[in-house]
């Protein structure tokens, strides 16, 4: 396959960026999207040019590092698939492909396609855990958990923290990411004691980081590679209202 790529190049956070065209040839349909970028980078290095910076690590769709807007879609055209698991067979020979970083107020660009997502870690720091210091745990079978609750928790716990939901959202909201963690932990009996402080703390941090508000456009769930359901946001909002009521009582 032969392709034209238009890639966002930006030296660092303080310089302006621009789209830059590149040609790549000899691309195999079995390559992943990132392997295609590897080919481009090998070319650029040998030509003495700066290779395109992008985040990646596991290349298995689980670490959440990869993060590209491909033709305006977070993680590209294939549903429930991260960029690293997207293969070139999803594209036409001769196609022109636009590649950009996640764009959101809370994700400043670091270089080229790499952004700073540390705001998501800080949202977790604000309550996205269960306080269970090492050594204090009761026997695992002491409290059975009904399978439906365990399954619901699991479904939400699958979030890989990639930030595609934020990038896809017209408001740059991190509601789906935050809701995934609130639902994971608040569904479980172990998470109950911190149920209210968790949702209040995480949502307050989300606002403080400059993530936008949720207007339920649903773009996040469409972009999410792990299929975190939109309904999780509604549940999180209910949890928040419940927590507020409890706090003012």
């Amino acid at each position: 396959m032969k392709l034209t790529l238009r890639i966002w190049r930006q030296e660092n956070a303080s310089q302006p960026g621009r789209m830059q065209p590149y040609e790549v040839d000899g691309i195999s349909r079995d390559m992943s999207f990132l392997e295609m970028l590897d080919v481009l980078n090998e070319q650029l290095i040998l030509a003495g040019q700066d290779p395109v910076a992008f985040d990646h690590d596991c290349r298995e769709g689980i670490c959440g590092a990869c993060s590209l807007m491909i033709d305006g879609q977070a993680h590209g055209p294939q549903k429930k698939t991260t960029t690293c698991q997207l293969h070139m067979r999803s594209f036409r020979d001769g196609a022109t492909i636009d590649v950009e970083p996640w764009r959101a107020a809370a994700f400043p660009v670091v270089k080229d396609l790499v952004v700073d997502r540390s705001a998501m870690d800080r949202v977790i720091q604000a309550g996205g855990y269960i306080t269970a210091p090492t050594g204090a745990a009761p026997e695992a079978h002491a409290a059975p958990i009904p399978k439906p609750a365990a399954d619901l928790a699991f479904e939400n716990a699958e979030c890989i923290g990639c930030g595609a939901c934020v990038a896809a959202c017209p408001n740059g909201s991190a509601s789906l990411f935050t809701a995934a963690k609130v639902n994971h932990l608040n569904t479980l009996p172990q998470g109950a004691p911190e149920r209210e402080t968790r949702v209040i703390g995480m949502l307050a941090q989300m606002d403080a980081e400059g993530f936008g508000g949720c207007t339920l456009t649903g773009e996040c769930a469409t972009a999410c590679p792990k299929g975190i359901p939109l309904a999780s946001i509604a549940t999180m909002n209910k949890e928040w209202l419940r927590a507020q009521r409890k706090a003012t009582r």
Binding site: E42, Q49, P51, E60, Q85, I130, P133, A137, P146, F154
Partner: protein
């Protein structure tokens, strides 16, 4: 004399007389050690600093636990978030001797299975402790909200893994590593918020600072700005993972690397059993030269999938066109009592053998079938989907084939390194104050790791073992002088690091870092991979210094060191891979027996199984660095077996 013959002329130093495990009955040793350990007064802990390099299962659990105990933790990872450490990718599960199934499991059986699975090349004291602690790990993770798979009654589900006949593997669909890591990461995040952990993501340790013989700090590079800085502490913990990426293609994450442990080795930490690498039997075969990594298909698939190849050589019919009696279910045939669940080393070699015979399937004949046809008939598609759905999806995404209809094609790939920094029973290296946990150490798996045991070991080390033993060290070193960036040892370490990076940038040659990584990787896969022999290893040892020389003449890294520069990161890691590769080959050359994952062609039983030589090789090989390209010194730690008697492993 050529550089290579010099290097192979290693000498033997003093044996390691004492790995510091307490004496007494094996089941009491850990209690004894904990009781003997000195404690640090809670009021003094805030003033004691510990550096933790790594945020995988081992590092995250260690960092969180030490901070909970009140120590001041300074923690590093090279990813943008600690949650992305390579542990996140572990799929299949974590072992624990809970015996919830009432199927005859016990701490003793897990101990026995692990010593035997490791082909009698691990320490009984360590393995027994691991088996004891396994039980507490599950409790700890459940308390954190890790959503393990459950049955309809609400209790935890388990499954079987290779090399054992009980069902003791706890799992969270095909994402067990992710869920366990998120549990530990969240505990870490709680400590970051509470001020117990000072976190440095996107920061890579490039050297260790040793002062008066003690590990007191690290040199690290801020990957965003390129700034090189020093960090100091009372002790340093390396939780930096394994070194499988020496082979370029492996199931490890792209950025996993050996720099932290190799730099520590150069500073005096012995390296244990570098040649013990694990080749995992069930990975997706490579499709071409562009391949950047290999993807594992969890071993749990062997619970229900049946492995086969055609009986006839060069049979190119599609799998469904091959009738039942023309299929060779070779594992079930050769190992009737374990069948498809033999340990990894055995399954991998068997796959290689049938492919070498010309009976492999798929492009290049480098593959065998893993067939779910029978399982779908027996259990129904829905049950199979419930258990393995995400793995099947992943397979289809990569290969464009639907494993519900067509058998998967799999082939062995480099997966895990049993070798690593030598540590004593306290997980302390030969440099006082330097500890190694998780895959970075060599400790518990001998010559072959059983499935679902790395997660167990990483969390045992981080949650339970290290916090107990490091406090003993800290208590004994109370009152140590603080070290600053002006200390000559720190100044020298920074200077060397800066010089190394500048030298790489200065070459301005005509080959990319990846091209060198591929070259060393292919060499290692071919000559120090699934089967090793003397002539091949000697060839590799002759070739590696040449590649290294070529690197310093031809490497090309654009840009500067004072910016975000991913090519520079890669090139710098290669410098360490070349040296490590050399030591791996030397270790493999010196160990003329076969054991576990280390298969010396010269040492096999008449039916092709690994033949150990216990009289000669029942020891840990701990190597001491003496200088670049200089012959290292071998220190042997004798392994004695009081409880599990070494025997030829049999899984038939």
């Amino acid at each position: 004399m050529t550089a290579f013959s010099e290097y192979t002329a290693y000498t033997e130093g003093d044996p390691i007389a004492d790995a510091k495990a307490p004496s007494g009955a094996v089941q009491e040793r850990w209690d004894t050690r904990r009781f003997e350990a000195k404690l640090v007064n809670p009021a003094n802990r805030r003033r004691r600093k510990v550096i933790v390099v790594g945020t995988g299962l081992a590092g995250a659990s260690a960092g969180a636990t030490l901070a909970e105990a009140g120590y001041h933790v300074v923690q590093f990872c090279f990813q943008d978030s600690p949650r992305r450490a390579h542990s996140i990718a572990a799929q299949g599960g974590i072992n624990a001797a809970k015996n919830y199934r009432n199927d005859g499991d016990s701490v003793h059986r897990l101990f026995y299975d692990t010593v035997k699975g490791g082909d009698f090349r691990s320490r009984e004291s360590n393995v027994h402790r691991l088996a004891q602690i396994s039980v507490e790990i599950i409790d700890q993770c459940v308390a954190q909200g890790v959503p393990f798979a459950r049955e309809y009654g609400g209790l935890l589900d388990t499954r079987s893994f290779g090399g054992v006949q009980v069902s003791r593997t706890f799992y969270a669909r095909g994402q067990t590593g992710q869920q366990l890591l998120l549990g530990a990461y969240q505990a870490m995040m709680r400590q970051v918020a509470a001020g117990g952990i000072e976190l440095h993501p996107r920061t890579e340790m490039l050297d260790l600072i040793v002062v008066d013989g003690q590990a007191r700090g690290i040199v690290a590079r801020d990957l965003l700005t390129g700034a090189i800085d020093t960090h100091f502490a009372d002790a340093v913990v390396l939780a930096s993972g394994g070194y499988g990426n020496v082979y370029y293609l492996s199931t490890n994450a792209m950025n996993s690397n050996a720099t932290a442990i190799w730099r520590a080795h150069r500073k005096g930490a012995y390296f244990g059993n570098p040649c013990y690498t694990q080749i995992h039997p069930t990975c997706i075969p490579r499709t071409g030269d562009h391949q950047s990594k290999l993807t594992l298909m969890s071993e749990s698939l062997r619970n229900d999938g049946r492995i086969w190849v055609p009986k006839a050589k060069g049979d190119s019919r599609s799998p469904e066109a091959i009738p039942e009696d023309e299929r060779d279910y070779y594992l079930e045939r050769q190992y009737p009592s374990f069948g498809n669940l033999v340990p990894r080393d055995i399954a991998s070699r068997a796959a290689k053998n049938v492919c070498d015979e010309g009976r492999g399937v798929g492009p290049g004949g480098q593959g065998v079938y893993l067939d779910f046809g029978d399982a779908i008939k027996r259990l129904g598609r829905k049950a199979v989907e419930e258990k393995y759905g995400n793995l099947f999806e992943m397979y289809e995404r990569i290969t464009d084939e639907d494993p519900y209809r067509v058998p998967m094609r799999i082939y062995p790939a480099v997966h895990y390194t049993m070798g690593g920094l030598w540590v004593d029973y306290d997980l302390q290296t030969t440099i006082p104050g330097l500890f190694a946990v998780g895959e970075a150490n060599f400790s518990d798996h001998g010559a072959n790791r059983l499935g679902a045991s790395a997660l167990m070991q990483g969390l045992a080390d981080g949650y339970f073992v290290l916090p107990a033993t490091i406090s003993d060290y800290l208590a004994r070193t109370a009152g140590a002088e603080p070290v600053t960036a002006e200390h000559p040892a720190a100044v020298e370490a920074v200077r060397q690091t800066e010089e190394r990076l500048a030298a790489i940038l200065a070459v301005d040659g005509d080959r990319t870092p990846d091209s060198f990584h591929r070259e060393i990787g292919e060499l290692m896969w071919e000559l120090c991979g699934m089967a090793r022999d003397e002539s091949g290893l000697r060839k590799a040892l002759a070739r590696i210094p040449e590649i290294r020389e070529e690197f310093w003449a031809r490497i090309k890294v654009p840009g500067t060191g004072e910016e975000f520069n991913q090519s520079l990161e890669k090139a710098n890691r290669l410098v360490d891979y070349f040296e490590l590769a050399e030591l791996m080959c030397l270790d493999a050359l010196h160990r003329t027996e076969s054991c576990g994952g280390h298969f010396r062609v010269e040492s096999q039983t008449p039916d092709g199984e690994a033949a150990r030589k216990d009289e000669e090789f029942s020891y840990v090989a701990a190597w001491e660095y003496t200088g670049l390209g200089e012959p290292p010194v071998l220190h042997k730690e004798q392994l004695d077996f009081e409880y599990v008697h070494p025997a030829q492993r049999s899984y038939t």
